[in-house]
């Protein structure tokens, strides 16, 4: 069971307090989008063995959504950060780069 620090209330929350929300930083496509863009937005997800940016909600706590940068293989947590951003903050990217040089994730990279 993972432990993630909620960046809003500061609690080190156990997984039972959290709700996993899948991949982070999806760009929403709506009316007017091509079939392909909309299909990718709805269904295509990253499934890396390694660095993953993902959404969590502190559902049995403060109720806030946040983001986590985590290694799916070693379960190392590089950091958690606000949900009100469309890309990981530089500080988080630096932390990942320090531990996983050369990482990439969608359009983000070291």
């Amino acid at each position: 069971m993972l432990i993630l620090e909620c960046p809003y209330c500061g609690v080190h929350a156990e997984e039972t307090e959290l709700h996993a929300g899948g991949e982070a930083h999806l760009k929403r496509f709506g009316p007017g989008a091509s079939d392909e863009d909309f299909h990718d937005y709805l269904f295509m997800r990253e499934n890396p063995k390694g660095v993953h940016l993902e959404r969590w909600r502190h559902v049995n706590g403060c109720g806030k959504w946040f983001h986590a940068a985590r290694c799916t293989m070693t379960l190392e947590v590089f950091g958690t950060y606000t949900a009100q951003t469309s890309e990981p903050p530089q500080e988080i990217k630096d932390k990942i780069s320090a531990k996983r040089p050369g990482w990439t994730w969608r359009e983000f990279s070291a």
């Binding site: 156990e14 496509f29 709506g30 079939d35 806030k64 290694c71 190392e76 949900a83």
Partner: protein, 1011 residues
């Protein structure tokens, strides 16, 4: 024969005799016995039958790795199948039954069957047999499999487990799993740093197997050292010791489950039977020891063939011997210890066969000095079949099993080497390396399981790390304890040097088949997995059939898939696979180790969450009144809602019919408090709701209500309800009962993660309000009477509060908010009051309503009333694959809005397919009620030869209003097929014929709700 010895037995108390029963036979043992040792003391060599072939089976091991001795324990509401005799401590009155036999353990029909069928039962038999020829399945295979399959009997489903269970949370710096000498030393080293330490030991006693194997630690006999060390640890405030507690699993980020068996050895003592320890440890030391491997020779499953160290355990710990003339076969030095122990106990060791041409070290010299005949380069060709060992044929190890010599013996001790218990290390990603010298996989300390910080959080200690000599074990354990404490943040300390006695052992030899070139007749009798009846020949067949991956071979042959998860068979099986494939063992690799290490009880997993406290029950403010007035309860999420209010002499169905007619003709009251009530507030609230609902909400005027639909981004209908605009910035959104929390979360998700710059707050006020639907032709009269009694109140006239309007005010003196909305088609007011006033308001309505024929009604009447009106219900008409367009709800989908959740998805090709099933009403030709969920069949057959389906029933009821069955359903091209009669086959073969009609069955013009 197996028997109790005159002396020995360090764990038993011969002054305390204990009576127990096995298959109804009264037997006697001693305090300190396990069920296994007590059975051996009574010469009960045969303890069970095997899974597939029903072969007679006896004890192989002395600990939790035992594959054969599974018994049904206890009776009635304390019966439990598949309990290991080796881990069951004997107590007075223990009642055990053997398993997998019919009609009796001694004589079994299945064994005869297996001889007839065994050629069908090879590797992959499930896949090969169950397909062709088809008729064989029903008449031959199924009866046979049913008779032979399964381990123990399931407990009686009518009875509830009489015991209680609990969970317990614990946090520590260093958790040590295993209370053998390594675990104790690791705990001692860690505790010396001041770290908070917890030590778990699955057995009832400390010290593991070192007191049996012998040796000196820090100048003391092992047993004395254990006693001293346990006493020292117990005296330390920062150390907690728990015996009878197994480390069951290691999980992400240092979460560990412990399984404590509190009263299994003393039923009736009171308190919980099992306790689940939910532990968070900064560092975990696994001092889990090692398991001896069997040797693969023909007849290695005959009762009396036992692991050499286990046989030694039985003699030293419990003073029992499985035989009086024992033959020992080994490929390493450890089994020589068994020869010495047996000899000292007065048991004849008829022969010690050492596969190594060069023989053993110091211990071999001692054995020879005792006059025991040791033969090097020799092996067992075959143990004669039977219910116990009688004869053993011996041969050269490096041959095909010819030139045999027959020896009489009544027990065989075997040792194929030792494998560290790597399960807990592996559960969370620890990797293994192949140790060529010991022929085993051991933890690779450079590839440990890692925690949130990316650093290792598991350290192995003692034989669990690989080393097998006492000196190496103690050095490793001291280092592991210090390392774990330092990694947990304690000050670094010098590793203690532990003085021990030393024995020079010769190199072991890897032996995967005995004799090395055994012929097929022998290999077909050489068992790898005792519990699942997998033999050397099965794994070889799988390899020949192309199974190269160890994970595939496991599933194809069922090797290691039984309740012991291959504790004995794993390495031997994959070595055979590697050999057959011509590959190296490390290249073939192991299967995945998964928790729990050893089966744990379902009760322990559930803990105290059962019965009334399984989950919290949500009750509306009027719950007690409903309960006192005949409520037949229906679970709706965590809520309980009255399904109907049953009067004396009525059936539930009678009650529903009465409630339906009374509401339509006079006056009904519904407790609608469970409906979700979400306040959405802020300057951008209207804009936000326009994105959430398919229709426009921002244009709604304060004081007005509007019905709305919510879809997921996939376009599927997710929830519905009436939205009331309270003021310019504030809306109140009603959701379905089950949808309140889900829709609240849905709103929060979009607000927090997509439109985080929109100024909107959402609050779930569902439980702050009690809400009552006052429904029926007399509804207004009742409210006006209440207002008159109170000397005034809210104007509830047609003009004062028109249909789809809401108003704040007083009704009968209660501060209330009334909505003129109707889910029944009748004149209807939904009135919200403070939750604290809910019961008083309900009482007032009931009392004043008597003259108007008031009756409460339940959820079934609610459903019928809405179905008569053709109103959809989320969860009936929708199932996560239905879009609003399927339900003819185009009128509630805005064409003007640029965007809303689901809009783009509803333009996808599959969503606009004219062949989608669409909502219609269904009327049976004979007036009967259609079965719920029934499918309509059309012309033609599908690829499986089944009739094509063209629709299904989504809601179906008996309508007391119309005196007939009514239903709604989704039917292909339905709205274009009005008047057509289609077939709905029922489960019993009856075909229901139903006419496609308009879904509105009652008051099509909607006059009644608008009076």
């Amino acid at each position: 024969m197996s028997t109790r010895l005159a002396k020995q037995g360090r764990l038993i108390d011969r002054s305390k005799q204990i009576e127990f029963s096995f298959n109804g036979r009264k037997l006697k043992g001693f305090a300190g016995d396990t069920l296994a040792s007590a059975l051996l003391a009574n010469d009960q060599m045969l303890v069970g039958r095997s899974f597939k072939y029903h072969r007679p089976r006896g004890l192989v091991a002395s600990g939790s790795e035992e594959p054969n001795a599974l018994v049904g324990l206890g009776t009635g509401d304390r019966f439990e199948p598949n309990q290991r005799a080796t881990t069951t401590e004997l107590f007075s009155g223990l009642s055990a039954q053997s398993q997998n036999h019919w009609p009796s353990l001694e004589f079994d029909i299945g064994e005869v069957n297996s001889k007839l069928f065994s050629r069908f039962l090879t590797a992959g038999f499930y896949y090969k047999m169950f397909i062709h020829p088809r008729p064989f399945w029903k008449h031959v295979y199924e009866p046979f499999i049913r008779q032979s399959a399964g381990l123990g009997k399931a407990p009686n489903k009518e009875l509830k487990d009489a015991d209680t269970y609990e969970h317990f949370y614990f946090f520590c710096d260093v958790l040590v799993i295993g209370g053998g000498v390594a675990g104790l030393q690791a705990a001692k080293s860690a505790a010396a740093t001041g770290a908070k330490v917890l030590v778990l030991e699955e057995k009832s006693y400390w010290g593991g197997r070192t007191p049996v194997d012998g040796g000196m630690i820090e100048g003391l006999e092992a047993e004395a050292w254990v006693a001293k060390t346990v006493a020292e640890l117990e005296a330390m405030d920062n150390v907690t010791l728990r015996s009878r507690t197994m480390g069951a699993g290691v999980y992400d980020h240092g979460y560990i489950l412990g399984y404590e068996r509190l009263t299994d050895h003393a039923p009736g003592q009171g308190g919980p039977r099992h306790r689940m320890w939910r532990i968070r440890a900064a560092q975990t030391v696994t001092a889990t020891g090692a398991i001896e491997r069997p040797l693969s020779f023909a007849g290695n499953d005959v009762p009396g063939v036992m692991l050499a160290a286990s046989m030694r355990d039985y003699v030293v710990n419990w003073g029992v011997t499985p035989g009086k003339r024992v033959l020992i076969a080994t490929n390493n030095d450890d089994a020589y210890r068994t020869a010495i122990v047996l000899h000292e106990a007065g048991v004849e060791v008829v022969r010690l066969l050492d596969t190594r041409e060069t023989g053993g070290g110091d211990l071999a010299d001692r054995v020879r000095a005792l006059g025991i005949r040791v033969e090097c380069g020799r092996a067992i060709a075959k143990v004669a079949d039977g219910k116990r060992v009688t004869k053993v044929a011996i041969c050269a190890q490096n041959g095909e099993g010819g030139a045999r010599e027959e020896v009489e013996a009544d027990a065989v001790a075997m040792s194929g080497g030792w494998s560290p218990v790597v399960h807990l290390w592996s559960h969370c990603g620890g990797k293994l390396i192949w140790d060529e010298a010991q022929a085993h996989f051991r933890p690779d300390p450079d590839r440990a399981p890692t925690g949130a910080d990316g650093k290792p959080f598991v350290v192995t200690a003692g034989t669990a790390s690989g080393p097998l000599t006492l000196k190496a074990v103690m050095a490793d354990a001291a280092a592991a304890g210090a390392k774990a404490a330092e990694a947990a943040g304690r000050p670094a300390q010098a590793v203690a040097s532990i003085a021990t006695s030393e024995v020079v052992e010769a190199q072991m030899e890897a032996v995967w088949l005995m004799p090395a070139k055994a012929d097929i007749q022998l290999r077909m009798k050489s068992w790898l997995d005792y519990q699942n009846d997998v033999k050397v020949s099965d794994v070889q067949l799988a390899a020949r059939e192309g199974y190269e991956s160890v994970e595939h071979t496991k599933r194809y042959t069922t090797l290691g898939m039984a309740t012991d998860q291959g504790k004995l068979s794993n390495i031997n099986g994959l070595a055979i696979l590697a050999d057959t494939l011509g590959a190296e063992i490390p290249q073939v690799g192991t299967t995945t180790f998964r928790p729990p290490y050893h089966p744990i009880s379902m009760g322990a997993i559930g803990g105290s969450a059962r019965g009334d406290i399984f989950q919290p029950l949500r009750k509306t403010p009027m719950y007690d009144w409903h309960d006192a007035n005949g409520a037949h309860w229906e679970p709706v999420g965590h809520w309980r809602r009255p399904f109907a209010y049953v009067r004396s002499g009525e059936s539930v169905h009678d009650a529903v019919n009465r409630e339906v007619k009374n509401t339509r003709e006079k006056l009904g009251l519904l407790d609608a408090s469970t409906l979700g009530k979400l306040i959405v507030k802020g300057p951008d609230a209207g804009k936000f709701l326009d994105m959430l609902y398919t229709n426009v909400m921002s244009s709604l005027k304060p004081g007005k209500c509007r019905y709305g639909l919510m879809c997921s981004e996939n376009g599927f209908l997710s929830d519905d309800g009436v939205v009331a605009r309270i003021d310019e910035d504030t809306f109140l959104c009603h959701t379905t009962t089950g949808g309140a929390d889900r829709i609240h979360a849905h709103m929060e998700e979009w607000l927090q993660t997509e439109w985080w710059d929109w100024k909107v707050y959402v609050a779930n006020v569902t439980e702050q309000l009690a809400q009552v639907a006052v429904v029926g032709p007399n509804a207004r009269k009742l409210l006006e009477k209440l207002n008159a009694q109170a000397g005034g109140g809210m104007d509830v006239s047609k003009e004062g509060l028109a249909f789809m309007e809401w108003k704040d005010g007083e009704i009968g003196g209660f501060k209330a908010r009334a909505y003129r909305i109707s889910f029944s088609g009748e004149l209807s007011y939904e009135i919200a009051v403070a939750a604290s006033e809910g019961q008083a308001f309900w009482n007032a309505l009931i009392e004043a309503g008597q003259e108007f024929g008031v009756m409460p009604y339940g959820t079934e009447t609610l459903h019928i009333l809405r179905a008569e009106k053709g109103f959809i219900m989320i969860g009936d008409e929708t199932d996560g694959t239905v879009i609003p367009q399927d339900l003819g709800l185009h009128w509630a989908i805005s064409k003007k809005k640029e965007d809303f959740l689901g809009k783009r998805a509803q333009e996808r090709s599959h969503m606009v397919d004219p062949d989608r099933w669409q909502l219609v009403g269904l009327e049976t030709v004979d007036g009967s009620v259609l079965p719920d969920g029934a499918y309509a069949v059309g012309n033609g057959l599908n690829a499986n030869g089944q009739k094509n389906t063209i629709g299904r029933v989504t809601s179906t009821y008996y309508s007391a209003t119309l005196g007939r069955g009514i239903a709604m359903g989704l039917v292909k091209h339905g709205p274009k097929r009005m008047g057509e009669v289609i077939d709905f086959p029922g489960l019993d073969g009856k075909i229901f014929k139903a006419k496609i009609v308009d879904p509105v069955f009652y008051d099509k013009e909607g006059e009644k709700q608008n009076v």
